[in-house]
């Protein structure tokens, strides 16, 4: 009996999840705890490991489908696979760059994986089946599941099957799907390519500063996110679950909070020098990259201790002042962003903070965050400066009341004691909720942050 793999419940208030990508396909061997698929829920994106070792018999829920928790999503026939495949085989783990240039079409698949060619007909058939290569695979290398009829139509109509979202069993592209596509293409190039469940006009690329988290341009470990590629010009593509969530959350925040922004310029000479001096040592001794983000986080935490209103939330006409400082660190992902939370920053040493930030940022990119990792933030830091922007005006991450945006760090001429000096400068922007924080408090908070950073005196080891 194959083992049923069910949609897990990823948190108390979560009742459904979207399988964003299958990392294995039917017929693949899978080892226990090896990732089977990527799951996206309201709260977290993560990889779901296989509960048993065996062969992935059948996929019941196609990528892109949202299903309730406890739904059977696939079956794994138990029994140890011949050899546990090395990680990365049968589905590149998201976020990890492929080691070698992809060669999947040429690589000989394991026995039984390749669909049998059509049987040789008794009489010569005028047109031998020769599915065109581009139709065979989706953009991400997954095999497009389509019947012989659909492939024939695709060939005749010159349709790239990876452009069509199947509505048949297991996400198969049905005859109706491709005929509708061909029809719509005739009607006009701008007609929906994918019959999306929800109306899905992708927002015109919002400037990063408009989107809180897209500011995590520079994640702690310093890797830049891949260029987003959601579709081709002229197409209408449905939002990914993450994108839809971001959209909803951002608008909700703008509606909820009275956003005000204040901008400070900070001289990072001391930190710059400190970091230059210590970073190699840091890497050697702790195997950690010493990042600017941690300095900003530590400075924010120091300032919050003095101005606790910044670390609060609103409940009706009450202001809930939080005892703990749980710092959200926005991390950009190729297809969106996520804000993992570093807990109890008030108790952490600089080293502990750096370790925690590196950890969540790394796991965010590997989609290995747990629900707990993304809940409970009380204040957020984001990094819009990575592409050279001077600063951004971040949107508050609800239900928090303030967000610190870190602009680009750049050497600039500054006037010091009537002399012009070259200093590494950075703009810090605080987005705050005027319902609870007035400008004076916000500026005092920022002055404190600036002071901590410019006159850094905290131990970092």
């Amino acid at each position: 009996m194959p083992t049923e793999v069910k949609m897990p419940q990823m948190g108390e208030s979560i009742y459904e999840g979207t399988i964003t990508k299958w990392l294995k396909k039917a017929g693949d061997d899978v080892a226990k705890d090896e990732p089977l698929y990527e799951l996206s829920t309201d709260k977290v994106d993560t990889e779901i490991p296989s509960p048993v070792s065996g062969r992935l018999e059948k996929i019941a829920v196609a990528a892109g489908k949202k299903v309730p928790i406890h739904t059977v999503v696939c079956w794994v026939e138990e029994g140890a696979p011949a050899a546990a495949p090395p990680s990365g085989v049968g589905g590149v783990v998201a976020g990890m760059p492929p080691v070698a240039p992809e060669q999947e079409p040429a690589a000989p698949p394991p026995a039984g994986e390749k669909p049998a060619p059509p049987p040789a007909p008794a009489k010569p058939v005028p047109e031998p089946a020769a599915p065109s290569a581009p139709s065979e695979h989706g953009g991400d290398g997954e095999r497009v599941f389509a019947s012989p009829l659909v492939r024939k139509i695709a060939r005749e109509e010159n349709v790239d099957l990876s452009q069509i979202q199947g509505t048949g069993g297991g996400g198969r592209i049905t005859k109706e799907d491709i005929l509708a596509y061909v029809e719509s293409r005739k009607a006009g190039p701008a007609i929906a390519a994918r019959p999306a469940a929800a109306p899905a006009l992708a927002p015109a690329a919002a400037p990063p500063s408009e989107v809180a988290g897209a500011m995590a341009g520079r994640p702690a470990a310093g890797a830049a996110p891949a260029k987003p590629a959601i579709g081709r010009p002229g197409e209408v593509v449905p939002m990914s679950p993450m994108r839809a969530k971001i959209a909803e959350h951002m608008v909700m925040s703008k509606r909820t909070s009275a956003h005000v922004h204040t901008v400070f310029e900070v001289d990072l000479s001391k930190i710059w020098a400190l970091r230059e001096r210590e970073k190699d040592d840091y890497e050697r001794v702790y195997s950690l990259k010493l990042t600017f983000t941690t300095f900003f986080a530590a400075a924010a935490a120091e300032a919050i201790k003095e101005f606790p209103t910044l670390n609060s939330s609103v409940n009706g006409t009450n202001i809930i002042l939080k005892r703990e400082i749980h710092l959200g660190i926005a991390v950009a992902l190729p297809d969106g962003l996520i804000v993992p939370v570093v807990k109890n920053v008030e108790e952490k040493s600089f080293l502990g903070l750096q370790r925690a930030i590196s950890d969540v940022a790394e796991r965010a990119r590997l989609k290995k965050l747990t629900l707990d990792d993304v809940q409970g933030g009380t204040f957020t830091i984001t990094n819009p400066g990575i592409y050279g922007g001077l600063f951004g005006t971040p949107i508050i991450n609800q239900p928090q009341v303030a967000i610190l945006g870190v602009g680009g760090i750049e050497k600039r001429p500054v006037v010091i004691d009537d002399a012009i000096a070259i200093r590494p400068m950075c703009h810090l922007v605080l987005g705050f909720d005027h319902r609870v924080i007035d400008g004076a408090v916000a500026d005092q908070f920022m002055a404190k942050v600036k002071n901590v950073l410019q006159n850094w005196s905290l131990p970092i080891k």
Partner: protein
Amino acid sequence: MPHVTFLDAITQALREEMERDSKVILMGEDIGAYGGAFGVTRGLRERFGADRVMDTPLAELALVGAAIGCSYLGLRPVVEFQFADFISSGFDQIVNFAATSRYRWGVGVPLVLRGPWGGGVRAGMFHSRCMEMWFVHTPGIKVVVPGTVRDARGLLKSSIRDGDPVLYLEHKYLYRRLKDDLPDQEELTPIGKADVALEGKDLTIVTYGAMRTACLEAARELERDGIRPEVVDLRTLVPLDRAAVIESVRKTNKLLIVHEDTRTGGIAGEIAVSVCEEAFEDLDGPILRVTAPDTPVPYAPTLEDYFLPRAEDVVKAVRKLAKY
């Protein structure tokens, strides 16, 4: 109110052909004085005499051998098996002699072998089986399997006029259950031509014999879901009307084959491969089949009901295929 039963139609065909051609004779066990186990030949001895409606010993091998001999002498014998199951006792004469005669020396054997087949009447494993595939697999014999009152008459008349051995199978479940009105004028249903029993668009159901009725019942049920299957009744297994099946598949792009015969080696396999060979690129789904399981026909009523494919089994398979 239709009044002609499936059984009546067979009797009518025999009578008409005997009236038309004095060379047509009937041979079989208890077909004369008794009128046959099911009464198909009742009244024919009185009408045509004992010379043309002959009772034979309970010895199928001798019976078939004698009939082949008669055919060489210019007669057109129609042999009745009390139950088609017992045709196995005459097997050697049929497959080695009658079936090869034209190939061996150019002499056809205008012989009709007819008998009641199939289950559903609580008759147990020796009186219920589907044995058509033994002969489908034997080149030189035509296999005719009517599923309507009209085809029962029209196909038997064509079989009697055919110049080669024809196995004509009468589903005993239909004998008195199936009723229809028949036109007065003579009708000859061509051997080797399938019949589109119901036009549809969503998928093709290919079937024959008593399963035609089950498939049409399923189609009525499916209509409520908005699924419109096309039902193709093969009517003849040899020669097989592949062209009709493929034409329908090209239209609907999906195929379900339903037969009462057991699964392995049933006609479904032959049809499925034929479609793959000639219409692979017209398929928008897997070819599925609904059949009896690979066991003898059970005697216990509950088991027989389970064994036989039913309309609800067809509905289930169609839903699956339609959704695919």
